[in-house]
């Protein structure tokens, strides 16, 4: 069936089977490889994207469910003159190591900083609960995102 999605402002239309997952559409049809596939069970957040402004796990969604919606991937967070505030801070503070979890933390970190009010450590930790990092120990990630979100 024909699936039409808008990803990072670009329209994509492709003839695909209804069983295609959203993450596979993003990676294989749109060619945006920054969205990763980790656990495939909704636990690790490596596949996180924004769907009509809300964070979702694209490994738990059929591409056809997202028909007509606006999707932002980690590539779409970047602004004209480079990385956005959260991405820049994560990079400058060396909060990440291998970077496999970068899509998850960048997407959810940006969502928290733009949507949550009265930011504190607890709120940030709750927000980040759906993203797993196997390298870093979380401490710098939490501090970095809290700092950016407080300054928003």
């Amino acid at each position: 069936m024909k699936i039409k999605l808008n990803i990072n402002g670009t329209d994509y239309e492709s003839e695909e089977e209804p069983r295609m997952l959203l993450v596979d559409f993003i990676r294989d049809v749109a060619g945006l490889k920054g969205t990763h596939v980790g656990c495939e069970t909704g636990s690790c957040g490596a596949c996180m994207v924004l769907l009509d402004g809300m964070p979702v796990k694209s490994c738990l969604m059929l591409a056809v469910q997202a028909e007509g919606k606006k999707i932002i991937t980690i590539e779409g967070l970047s602004e004209k003159n480079g990385l956005n505030k959260v991405q820049k801070a994560l990079s400058e503070k060396k909060a990440l190591q291998c970077g496999f979890c970068a899509a998850g933390f960048s997407i959810i970190g940006t969502w928290i900083s733009e949507n949550e009010k009265n930011i504190d450590d607890k709120k940030v930790k709750e927000g980040l609960a759906g993203v797993v990092c196997r390298c870093s120990g979380y401490d710098t990630i939490i501090k970095t995102i809290t700092e950016v979100a407080k300054n928003e």
């Binding site: 209804p18 069983r19 909704g42 738990l60 059929l62 056809v64 759906g130 993203v131």
Partner: protein
């Protein structure tokens, strides 16, 4: 890479369209948010002939408040509950329960209907809804029926919904001036909860006027309900706790990969105790 089996995908825009399609097919699967349905498809636990997407049916996306009556449409996303429900105590208990579900991405995809209809004893909303005596509003081709949530579950993963039927939403009466408590204990593998306890109580002039509690979780199975009528001659918290502990001792709890029966019962005693201390302290 886990890939679902092949299926037909049918998007429905009206309830009539849903009833027509669901009654024609031998093995359809409803999908709302898909957080569980897609997982079941990927793991090939189910191989439906067709997946019926109900997310665009307007009646299932409604919230209706009529005097003290609240109806939450089945497609309502879990993250929305805290912003749209009224300020009464029954709604507060639902919001407490919903806010413990998964993480923000799961709550922005997952729906009330998906949480209520799976019948997994680890699901949160059924426990809160049982405690406040909510009803399941069930739609079928020839009309609507209202069933107490307590009668909606037959056993774990089995509800009373028949082929061609659909959960339209849940319905409950607002409660004012109550205290609420929601407790659960997570077992850190396979996303299972050993026990979940929801409690709501009204205390006036040092007397318990109303007390309702529900529990579920892997140790308990489908949600069970208690209310003050079972403690008619009892106004001592200690006795209420003892009666609930006695109940826990009568249920058959299995030794399995989630823990020993003894451990699971101790978890339940603790959750009950903490919830009671929160809602019944004078």
């Amino acid at each position: 890479m886990k890939v679902p089996p092949d299926f037909k995908y049918l998007r429905t825009y009206t309830l009539d369209e849903y009833y027509e399609k669901a009654n024609q097919l031998s093995l359809p699967l409803i999908i709302s948010g898909g957080t569980v349905a897609v997982l079941m498809l990927k793991n090939r636990i189910i191989r439906p002939e067709a997946v019926i997407d109900i997310s665009q049916i307007p009646e299932l996306n409604m919230l209706k408040i009529d005097k003290d009556d609240v109806f939450i449409g089945a497609n309502t996303k879990l993250y929305k509950l805290k912003n749209v429900l009224p300020n009464d105590s029954a709604s507060e208990l639902i919001v407490k329960s919903a806010s413990t579900i998964g993480d923000i991405a799961i709550r922005s995809m997952g729906s009330v209907g998906g949480n209520v209809c799976l019948g997994d004893p680890s699901n949160d909303l059924p426990v809160a809804l049982t405690a406040i005596d909510a009803q399941a509003v069930i739609g079928k081709k020839d009309g609507i029926t209202y069933t107490p949530i307590t009668s909606f579950y037959i056993k774990p993963f089995k509800t009373i919904l028949n082929k061609g039927e659909i959960l339209l939403g849940v319905n409950y009466k607002m409660l004012n001036g109550y205290r609420t408590s929601y407790k659960k204990h997570f077992i850190n593998f396979l996303d299972h909860y050993v026990g979940i306890v929801a409690a709501i109580a009204k205390i006036e002039e040092n007397t318990i006027k109303d007390f309702r509690m529900a529990m579920a979780g892997e140790a308990v199975g489908k949600p069970v309900k208690f209310d003050l009528s079972e403690f008619s001659k009892v106004d001592e918290i200690k006795t209420i706790k003892e009666r609930l502990f006695d109940y826990v001792n009568t249920i058959h709890v299995e030794n399995n990969r989630f823990g020993t029966a003894n451990y699971k019962k101790k978890v339940l005693y603790t959750l009950i105790s903490r919830a009671i201390d929160e809602v019944l302290k004078f």
